[in-house]
């Protein structure tokens, strides 16, 4: 879907992106992760030509973006930034309608789409459509930012630390809701962040960058189990395992048929991280997993949990 081949970009004396090649599959949520100044934002912005690269090629849907009119290219690619950048003098509806209007949609189609999008991001159109950005909270504003980026139903969405400026509570809520929405729509997403937790929680695959170079592009589990360089393991740190646990749920792990008496209970949807926390706080090395009908489906032991993750 998106293919970068030997992309290089220099600013004055330093190389921001250094010979980066990677391929992102359709429907995938790919994270560009790394310390600040590693070139992740420049890489992202080169895809919709907000930054023009010095050498290399970039394909979106097998079309070379360098051969496209930048403005027309950008209308087909959603773009969400950390500072949101809503137009303060326009209503929420008018903000969301930006790209449809540029594409010349008629008013009826635009309005219908705006209402659809606001509902999709959890904002009641009747309540929000005619408000101005200033009247919304940061979280609500970024919901509008996401709706605006999705307006023309783009196949690709570029997001530059979209939830970075939000308070932890709204950030978490938006991460979860956004992940669900992305799966539902099947949009291919390139997502820049420097937050490891966010990267591991959201990413199908993570491209770890450092000093303009792509170090490794893999599933988080692979990054954990077979890091390409020592930098990978040192970047993710000792807690990487715990973060990996948050990606998986109890569902699918083989349970033991022993008596659940006296064990703390979790559900099949509980994340393994929470399950582990429950074990620690209950002081036992096993948990009862509910069958959803009030009974117990079996017992999850500590060693089963550890094995499941290693696989």
């Amino acid at each position: 879907m998106i293919r970068l081949e030997h992309v290089t970009k220099c600013f004055a004396e330093n190389t921001a992106v250094d010979d980066v090649s990677l391929e992102i599959k359709a429907g995938e949520l790919a994270i560009l992760l790394g310390p600040s100044g590693c070139g992740k934002t420049t890489t992202l912005r080169s895809i919709n030509r907000m930054t023009d690269i010095d050498s290399g090629t970039i394909f979106v849907d097998d079309i070379n973006v360098l051969e496209q009119q930048p403005d027309e290219l950008r209308r087909r690619i959603g773009y969400v930034i950390q500072s949101i950048g809503l137009f303060p003098h326009l209503t929420i509806a008018r903000n969301v309608a930006t790209v449809p209007r540029l594409l010349g949609w008629d008013a009826e189609r635009t309005n219908k789409r705006v209402n659809e999008l606001l509902e999709m991001v959890g904002l009641d159109p009747a309540l929000y459509a005619m408000k101005h950005p200033r009247e919304l909270s940061g979280g609500e504003q970024q919901r509008v930012g996401v709706a605006r980026a999705l307006a023309a139903d783009p196949a690709v969405l570029l997001m530059d630390e979209p939830f970075g400026a939000l308070d932890p509570l709204s950030r978490q809520r938006l991460q979860v809701e956004f992940r669900a929405l992305q799966r539902e729509l099947g949009t291919t997403v390139v997502f820049v962040t420097h937050d490891i937790e966010e990267a591991v929680l959201l990413g199908d695959r993570i491209a770890l960058m450092d000093h303009g170079r792509l170090i490794q592009f893999d599933r988080p589990e692979t990054l954990w189990l077979s890091p390409a360089t020592p930098f990978v393991s040192s970047f993710f740190g000792e807690e990487f395992a715990l973060k990996i646990l948050s990606r998986h749920t109890v569902f699918g792990i083989a349970l033991e048929r022993v008596s659940p008496d006296g064990l703390a209970q979790v559900t099949a949807e509980t994340s393994l991280k929470d399950a582990l926390a429950t074990m620690v706080s209950s002081g036992r090395d096993a948990l009862s997993v509910s069958d959803g009908l009030g009974g117990s489906a079996g017992v999850l032991t500590f060693s089963a949990l550890v094995h499941a993750v290693k696989e």
Binding site: M50, L73, I81, F87, H89, H132
Partner: protein, 398 residues
């Protein structure tokens, strides 16, 4: 609120001290100084009379009103005191104008048609004192309506008296009646200078400002040119233009037909236009340069073309700042246009210079007062537009 009641002692706040000073000044100039000058004719000196000598009991009423304003500044009177002194100041303005008009009518009736009743320094100072009291009350007025109620009724009622002919026996209006034709012509010329120069400066300033903001290579030349015009003293600037404008008038019949020559309206207009260009161009440029980067970045990322960004995002957001530039330019042009009279370009300055030549103070005032009123009106109305746009853009007053 008005006093620091928590300490138990009553203390004066800043606005109350200012209000008291205004009320004391008002009372002082009502008691002493020339309120009215009653002269047998336009040239001869006459009796300089105080308000007390001129109005008798009416003056005591005025003093009572000033005392009331003073009382409304005392500690503990708070917002009510401020509203009271503001409204009383408006009343006092209207009452004193009515009193001088009545006394002037009586004097002219008694002394014959050539007799003149001119407003004295104390009268003008008392108007000033009333405004000091009004300004002291304004910060305490919370709503826009309350502020209008405190600042506008006096001036509106005086304007009403003026236009219904109630003040016609005052010397300044006699001067108007005598010079009505040249005054009206001068006023139209003055307005044409202001509107013409500001209007054209807005068009050029928008182009130059957008150009300078978008193209770094234009930035230097644009502001270098404007700075030269800005530092030239106005009279020397007009002087410098006499030769080139004269040449244009002589060599291009079309321009000559428009009245372009070394003197007259043309050089003045060019000077006014150059002065007006600076604040407008500067504000267009600055407002575009200081737009929130995330907004322009988002606009670009959505796929807006430069021209679409300019018209749907950048200029609308810059509009309040641009209007502020237009306001400065218009006020500045109104004042500078007085100089037109020096090179035969007309305008209200001509009335002022006539007055100076004839040592007729009232004729000078007939020129000066409309200029001041014009400046204040332009300033207030453009400020209002600015607020209106800002409010609309930010989604109401919430």
């Amino acid at each position: 609120m008005a006093s620091s009641s928590n300490t138990g002692t009553l203390r004066l706040s800043g606005d109350q001290i200012v209000g008291m000073a205004g009320a004391l000044l008002g009372a002082l100039v009502t008691a002493v100084g020339t309120y009215l000058e009653l002269r047998p004719n336009r040239i001869l000196g006459g009796d300089s009379v105080t308000a007390i000598a001129a109005f008798g009991p009416g003056a005591w009423a005025l003093l009572g009103l000033w005392a009331l304003m003073f009382a409304a500044c005392l500690p503990g009177t708070g917002r009510t005191g401020a509203m009271v002194r503001g409204l009383v100041a408006n009343t006092t303005m209207v009452v004193s104008v009515l009193l001088v008009a009545r006394r002037a009518t009586a004097f002219v009736a008694q002394s014959g048609d050539v007799a003149r009743a001119s407003l004295g320094i104390s009268f003008w100072l008392s108007l000033g004192a009333a405004y000091i009291v009004i300004f002291s009350a304004l910060p305490r007025a919370k709503s826009r309506n309350a502020r209008a109620l405190v600042s506008l009724p006096g001036i509106v009622m005086i304007a009403g008296l003026l236009f219904t002919g109630q003040l016609n026996s005052l010397s300044i209006l006699v001067e108007y009646a005598v010079n009505a034709d040249s005054f009206n012509k001068a006023l139209v010329q003055q307005l044409s200078y202001t509107l013409g120069a500001t209007g054209i400066a807005l068009v050029i300033g928008l182009l130059a400002g957008v150009g300078a903001a978008k193209n770094p290579r234009l930035e230097g030349p644009v502001f270098a040119t404007l700075n030269i015009a800005q530092v030239l003293p106005s009279l020397s600037f007009i002087g410098l233009l006499i030769v080139p404008m004269g040449w244009l008038g002589l060599n291009f019949p079309a321009l000559k037909a428009l009245g372009v020559s070394g003197i007259g309206w043309a050089p003045v207009f060019v000077v006014l236009l150059s002065y007006a260009l600076y604040p407008i161009t500067r504000n267009v440029y600055t407002s575009l340069k200081t737009l929130d980067e995330s907004i322009t970045d988002a606009a670009r990322g959505m796929g807006m073309k430069p021209i679409q960004r300019l018209f749907t995002v950048e200029l609308p957001l810059a509009f309040p700042v641009i209007i502020a530039g237009v306001r400065i330019a218009a006020v500045q042009t109104t004042a500078a246009a007085i100089l037109a009279a020096l090179v035969g370009g007309g305008g209200l300055g001509q009335i002022v210079f006539f007055g100076v030549q004839q040592t007729a103070t009232d004729l000078i005032l007939l020129g000066v007062i409309p200029i001041v009123a014009l400046s204040l009106t332009i300033d207030a109305s453009l400020r209002f537009v600015e607020t209106l746009v800002r409010t609309a853009q930010e989604g109401g007053l919430t």
